[in-house]
Each structure stands twice: as structure tokens, then as C-alpha cells.
Amino acid sequence: MRWGMVIDLVRCVGCQTCTIACKQENGLPAGVLWRFVADSEVGEYPDVRRLFLPMQCMHCVEPPCVPVCPTGASQQREDGIVWVEYDRCVGCGYCAMACPYRARHLIKDASWHFPGQPTPAEQATAQPARRGVMTKCTFCVDRVDRGIARELRPGVDPEATPMCAVACIAGAIIFGDLDDAESPACKLIKERGAVPLMPELGTNPSVYYVTE
């Protein structure tokens, strides 16, 4: 089993709903986004194209962030999900330098949207364990694990699927098992010729993009 994602750039309208859904689901502090949608313009006049590119951790099969971690805080599960054990992380930032996808975010200090003190919502979601350590997209690992425990199917049942995929208004984010040839994600990669970002780096990402 290898969890992965296919993002259909033709469908993406750049609404940032996935960005906000992720932020809310994971209780991220001000200024930290585990995923965001970049508004890109590619090509040269007159051959240009506006493209919305959702960016997040690629949960690479060969994650360059894991072996460089000096404390062993950056880890990869058997199902391919790359995660950070906060209690082990020293916050050195090396994994962020090793990641070519800008997917890692160091939460330096507690910062609130309004100066002085946190809002009730910020207080409710504040996680002291995350302060001073590296954080990143986890493919909503808790949702996935809880869903599997309830015999739900991640990628099919919303309760077992990462929040960004559930929230996407255009149905542009498909989550599933990339080792299962019959999964919708796998089929999409095959049928639409989805490609990963920067495959030349040899990281073998588990997030694919449909561009045409």
C-alpha cells in the first residue's frame, strides 16, 4: 500500500478552499500553511497559460528529508506517509533544505493573528509540541488511520480521506492507494498521463498532477 494523490490542474480554480480546510483541520498557527495554491503564469507571450498549482508535501517514495534528519524525527511509514515526530525534532531546518518541494514549515515561535494573546480559536488549536519544530502535511494521517480502523476506505469515504481532497469544490484532488491499479487515483495517472513535479531529482513523489 502506498498512499498518494492526483491533482487535476485542469479542474483546479485556485479557490484556496483546500488551503483553508487543511489549516482548520490541522489547527495551524498564523502564517503556517501546510498546503497552498500557487498562482502561476507559464510561457511567453503570446503562448501563455495561467495555472493554479496546489503545493504540499509530495510524500516521496525516496524522501530526501528523512535520511538527512539528524535526530530521526523525520520518518516514513510503510504506507509511504512521511511525518515528523515532534518530540524528537530539534528544529535545525535541515530537512527543509533537503526538500525540493518547499513542503516543510518550521513553527519558530507562538504567533497570534492579533498582538498580545491568542484568539479563542487559536487557543483551542494551539499545540505547544509543535513550537520550535518542523511541521508538514501528513496526508491527514489521523483521519486515514481512524477511517481504516472503522473499515472505511480512504479516498472513497470522506471521513477517511485527507481534508483537502474532501473540501475541494472542483473535485480536483483524488486520494488513493497508488499500489492498487484499480484505485481512482491510479487510473487517473494512467489515463490522463499525470506527472510528478521534478522527477529528475529522483525523489519519486506520491503526488501527481494532471496538466492536460
Binding site: A38, S40, V42, G43, P46, D47, V48, R49, L51, L53, M55, P64, P67, V68, C69, P70, T71, G72, A73, R88, C89, V90, G91, C92, G93, Y94, A96, M97, A98, C99, P100, Y101, R102, L106, I107, K108, R131, G132, V133, M134, G193, V195, L197, M198, P199, E200, L201, T203, Y209, T211, E212
Partner: protein, 289 residues
């Protein structure tokens, strides 16, 4: 060329303190290695000076980098992954170096000097390897990096000795100016080789920022050419003042080069995607039939 969707952006996690660690660690380890080599691993005043200065500089570098970490009290966790992480290896090598040099001061023995020299060499190679494994930063992710750090460290170490010996009133070592001159030439060659490295487009763009007058004059002219001339004078006239001045300039040149490498050339790769087709304009479609 693949379509560039997000442009390169300067990394912001590793700042001046990280750059200071790379400079101080290299200078400290280099000081010891050069002194040990010039002394033939025998007991000498030169090596005694290096046994204090070298570990001191390395420890100062570690303190700098610890201050930049998000959770400094967990610093010893960094020792855990010696099998896979060059950052772990850097700390192990640094610790072994400091321990060997300190033990040699208390209980002098040739074995400690050899162990200290090996650990110091491993420390600078590890620092270079840390950067060369950083796939996210094109200017660092090159295999030349450990060699660059090694040569830079040795040149810096010779600079520290050339500056420190007259300041401490220690009689100069006759061979030091000659050895230092050789290291300065080697350093110029390696830095030039790095800038001419046949890297990808992202590498070339990130390292292009070196080609401004302040960098070329600071690193190559003031940090290499003028020190060489001063060392020539020092060898001719046997005046340690020229060596000391050369030492200062070499140190400033290496500091500027490493600071540039971390702070300016440290750009996160542009995000690209392969085989992205662009819609052809009607005009182009008409032209192409």
C-alpha cells in the same frame, strides 16, 4: 526546458548564525590540521596554540548553530542518526575533535594528535556533505561541496595561525607562509571551479549572484591575490607582520565566500513540471499551418 511554476526563492531558515558555524567550524578544524601537519604530529608550541584555538572556534560555531535551532535544549538528539545524517556526523566529529585536542593538552600523546586531525578532517568534510545533500537548494546540491569546504577550511586554518602566532608572541614557523600560499592558490582554484561547475539551470542562476564587483574583489582579489603577494613578501623578508596581514585577508575572504554561499546563493529550487504543453495562440497555429 520544463515549465517553471514557482520561481526560485531565497531560503530563510539558515541565517547568519548557520553561516558562522560553517566558517568557524572550518577555520577551527583547519587550524588544527595545518598545525599538526607542520609539526609532523610532534609536540610543538604551534600545535599547543592550535589545540586551544581550533576547538574553541569549533565550539563557538556549534553554539551559533544551536542558537538558531528551534529547540536548542534537544541539541544532543542530533547525535542519534550517525548512520544516515551528515549533520549527526558533523557533531560526532566535532565532539571527537574537541575531546582529542583537549586530552592531548592534558596528556600529550601522538595518538591524540592523529585522532584529532582525522576528526577535524571529518568535521569539515561533513559540513560540506551537509550542503551537498540538500536537494532543495541547487547551489549547494553539488558533489564538489566537501572538497570546497576542505580546502576553504585549510586556507582559513593557515590564516588563523598566521594571525595568531605574532599576536600571541609565538615565534613563527618558517614553513607556514609557503604552506599558506599553496593553500590560498588551491582555494582560489576550488572556488573558481565551483563557480564554473556544470550544474543545472537553477544552479547557474543561483551562483550568478557571485559575479558582482564586491564579491569578486572581496573574495578573489582581497581574499586570494593580495594575500599571495603579502605572503611572497613574508617569505622574502621573513617578516611575520606580512603573514599576519595575509591571514586577516584570507579569513575575511573565506568568511565572505561562505556567507554568500549560505545567505545569497542559498535559493530554494524553482518548482517545475515536465511536459506541460501550452495552448498555442491562434496566430501561431495559423503560422504553423
Amino acid at each position: 526546458m520544463d515549465a517553471e511554476l514557482l520561481p526560485a526563492a531565497r531560503q530563510s531558515l539558515w541565517g547568519r548564525l548557520a553561516a558562522a558555524n560553517f566558517f568557524l567550524g572550518g577555520a577551527g578544524a583547519g587550524t588544527y590540521v595545518v598545525a599538526a601537519a607542520l609539526s609532523g604530529f610532534g609536540l610543538s608550541t604551534l600545535l599547543r596554540v592550535a589545540s586551544v584555538l581550533g576547538p574553541g572556534l569549533v565550539l563557538a560555531g556549534f553554539l551559533c548553530v544551536a542558537a538558531e535551532a528551534g529547540r536548542p535544549p534537544r541539541g544532543l538528539f542530533v547525535l542519534r542518526k550517525i548512520g544516515t545524517s551528515w549533520m549527526s556526523r558533523e557533531l560526532w566529529a566535532g565532539g571527537a575533535f574537541v575531546l582529542a585536542a583537549a586530552t592531548d593538552l592534558v596528556r600529550p600523546h601522538r595518538g591524540w594528535r592523529i585522532a584529532g586531525t582525522l576528526a577535524a578532517l571529518l568535521l569539515v568534510l561533513a559540513q560540506g556533505a551537509i550542503l551537498s545533500r540538500a536537494k532543495g537548494v541547487a547551489a549547494w546540491n553539488v558533489s564538489l561541496m566537501p572538497s570546497l569546504f576542505l580546502v576553504s577550511a585549510l586556507a582559513s586554518g593557515a590564516g588563523v595561525l598566521a594571525l595568531a602566532l605574532p599576536l600571541l608572541g609565538v615565534a613563527g614557523v618558517g614553513e607556514l607562509p609557503r604552506v599558506m600560499a599553496g593553500l590560498v592558490v588551491l582555494s582560489a582554484l576550488v572556488w573558481a571551479g565551483y563557480l564554473a561547475w556544470p550544474g543545472d539551470f537553477a544552479f547557474r542562476r543561483a551562483t550568478a549572484s557571485f559575479m558582482v564587483p564586491s564579491m569578486v574583489v572581496g573574495v578573489f582579489v582581497a581574499g586570494h591575490v593580495i594575500p599571495l603577494a603579502l605572503l611572497g613578501l613574508a617569505i622574502e623578508a621573513r617578516v611575520s607582520l606580512w603573514s599576519a596581514l595575509a591571514g586577516v585577508l584570507v579569513l575575511l575572504g573565506q568568511l565572505q565566500a561562505k556567507a554568500w554561499l549560505i545567505l545569497r546563493a542559498g535559493e530554494l529550487r524553482p518548482i517545475t513540471i515536465p511536459s506541460l504543453r501550452l495552448r498555442r495562440s491562434r496566430e501561431q497555429a495559423w503560422r504553423e499551418g
